[in-house]
């Protein structure tokens, strides 16, 4: 990066360090922090959508939708989230390829599952073998994002259904007494009032989401954990910048990154909650 970095072997001390932390690989490391932020900003709305759908489903008048919704919300309490993170991307991948195989290669008669192999025709592969590197990256990231959306959707669904149940019954009855339809009661009374009850749970969920982002590593994404392992490992003399095992230092940096992220989030969320509580007929609102 700097002009004096041409021959790192001759450098020492801080100058060596300044060259070391600006290598191309370190730039990828810094970029991967953006990947985390990107995941957070996309996964949160996606999870809210999944959660809203789940919470609404549990209040459906159709019993089959109701039980589907309840099963979706309940399963996250029984099964570790990591199972879903491992299962969903590969299951989705196989499901997409299976469907494409059926649609695009109807002339192939051989079964897709042959013993321990999953064989689809070349045209059904996702992404195509000929696709460039970045398409593979985007595809992998999207699958990971869907897994995050699905898992945190179930968490959010629990929070939202709890919040919907917490809206005082009399509010809803008043709506009905004024001749609102079910849909109108839902849209005009239930939804606007539930947020204040949902907020503590959603704040908590945001913190859980932040702390789940390193799991991207398990999904084969080149995220901050990947780079910390890669850059921190022992570098022998054949490397430009030889150093001993520095992984503990790199993970220390990640710890500090996450601690500041959660600390910052907490103080922002505290402010939001103080503002939302103002004038509400709750204990926190009256105190303020």
């Amino acid at each position: 990066m700097f002009s004096y970095c041409v021959d790192p072997k001759t450098l020492e001390g801080l100058i060596w360090l300044s060259c070391y932390v600006t290598t191309a690989k370190h730039m990828s490391f810094y970029l991967s922090f953006l990947v985390v932020m990107c995941l957070l900003s996309l996964a949160a709305p996606l999870a809210m959508a999944f959660g809203f759908a789940g919470a609404t489903a549990t209040r459906s008048s159709l019993s089959i939708i109701r039980s589907l919704g309840k099963a979706y919300l309940a399963m996250i309490r029984g099964i570790p989230d990591i199972v879903f993170f491992l299962f969903i991307p590969i299951a989705l991948d196989q499901a997409f390829e299976y469907l494409r195989h059926k649609a695009l290669c109807s002339d192939v008669t051989e079964p897709i599952r042959q013993g321990n192999d999953f064989v689809v025709c070349a045209a059904a592969k996702l992404p195509l073998n000929t696709a460039s590197e970045w398409v593979h990256d985007i595809y992998g990231f999207s699958l990971a994002l869907l897994a995050f959306g699905f898992v945190f959707g179930a968490f959010a669904g629990n929070v939202l259904s709890g919040a919907m149940a917490a809206v005082p019954k009399s509010q809803i009855e008043t709506g009905e007494a004024y001749g609102f339809s079910q849909r109108q009661v839902f849209r005009r009374i239930l939804i606007p009032q539930m947020w204040i009850y949902a907020l503590p749970g959603l704040s908590n969920l945001w913190m859980i989401l932040i702390k789940a982002t390193p799991l991207l590593f398990l999904l084969g994404i080149e995220d901050i954990v990947y780079w910390a392992k890669e850059l921190g490992g022992i570098k022998t003399g054949v490397y430009e910048y030889p150093h001993p095992d520095w992984r503990a230092w790199y993970f220390g940096v990640l710890m500090i990154f996450y601690l500041s992220l959660t600390y910052l989030s907490q103080s922002v969320l505290d402010k939001i909650s103080a503002r939302l509580n103002k004038g509400q007929a709750t204990m926190a609102g009256k105190a303020g």
Partner: protein, 281 residues
């Protein structure tokens, strides 16, 4: 069916090193998947049970420390809770493992009089000790925060009554504050226990290597998913085992909850109910 019994004796204790050494490689049967993943559950249960048992006491200590008026006590407890609650467990595992690897390879002899135990630092890099320590610290911090919240919520009338009856010091804590704190914290603590069991699945995906392929349930599940390229069998099996385990925990914690509320008139007793819209962790 008899072959399944054979599989059970071959792989039932595989995760702790007994039985067949080689894992099934081809023609993997449903029975083998069920048995081996179940065998892996031994590790999940081991980690969670010991982390929770030890963490329970340390968490009480942390809660009292955080509640202390002396900054000398409260500051370190606050910092400990902040660090372990504010960073991902996943990163904590990596960080701790790499730190343990860096430690000089020392051995200490502990003389118990009748027996000399050699404690070596390289044990820390093994999952059974290193990961357990991380999980222990982690659950202590989360439970500490839960207990701290409950401690702050102990009704002041209870404390005044205790004073009026002449309770002081340890006795006041042991008889009045502690039981009430536990009663208030119990639903959240149950949640924490469930999450702790789930968190044990991270151990073998982080720095800690599964030595001689002795891994936990999800280690074997991902092994099978890799080998058969079919995720639709092993992962639901893990899910099944964990749902059973979760139901077991809820049952056990409900019994303790009943014990904690036994002095209340029956209509005031609260069944163990989870606060759905405020998940802690």
């Amino acid at each position: 069916m008899s072959s399944c019994f054979q599989t059970l004796s071959d792989y039932g204790l595989r995760s702790i090193g007994y039985g067949e050494r080689l894992l099934p490689k081809s023609d993997i049967t449903l029975c083998e998947q069920f048995v081996l993943i179940g065998s892996g559950m031994i590790w999940n249960i081991y980690f969670a049970v010991f982390a929770l048992l030890l963490g329970f006491f340390f968490a009480t200590f942390l809660a009292l420390g955080k509640n202390s008026n002396l900054p000398l006590f409260s500051a370190p407890c606050r910092l400990f809770i902040f660090i372990f609650r504010g960073s991902p467990l996943f990163i904590q595992f990596f960080f701790a493992y790499d730190l343990f690897v860096l430690l000089p390879r020392l051995g200490f002899d502990i003389d118990l009089g009748f027996l000399v135990i050699t404690v070596e630092t390289r044990w820390l890099t093994k999952a059974w000790l290193g990961a357990l320590i991380v999980l222990f610290f982690n659950t202590s911090a989360y439970a500490g925060e839960i207990f701290y919240g409950a401690l702050r919520a102990v009704p002041s009338q209870d404390l005044e009554s205790a004073d009026a009856f002449g309770f002081t010091g340890i006795k006041k804590f042991r008889r009045i504050i502690w039981p009430t704190m536990l009663r208030l914290a119990w639903p959240s603590y149950t949640n924490e226990a469930i999450f702790m069991f789930h968190a044990t699945t991270l151990v073998f995906f982080t720095g800690f290597p599964a030595w001689q392929q002795k891994g936990d349930a999800i280690y074997y599940a991902s092994y099978f998913a890799d080998k058969t390229f079919n995720p639709f069998v092993p992962y639901p099996i893990v899910g099944f085992y964990f749902i059973l385990l979760t139901l077991l925990i809820i049952g056990l914690f409900s019994l303790i909850n009943r014990r904690l509320n036994i002095h209340l008139p029956t209509n005031e007793r609260k069944r163990l109910r989870f606060n759905k819209y405020n998940l802690i962790r």
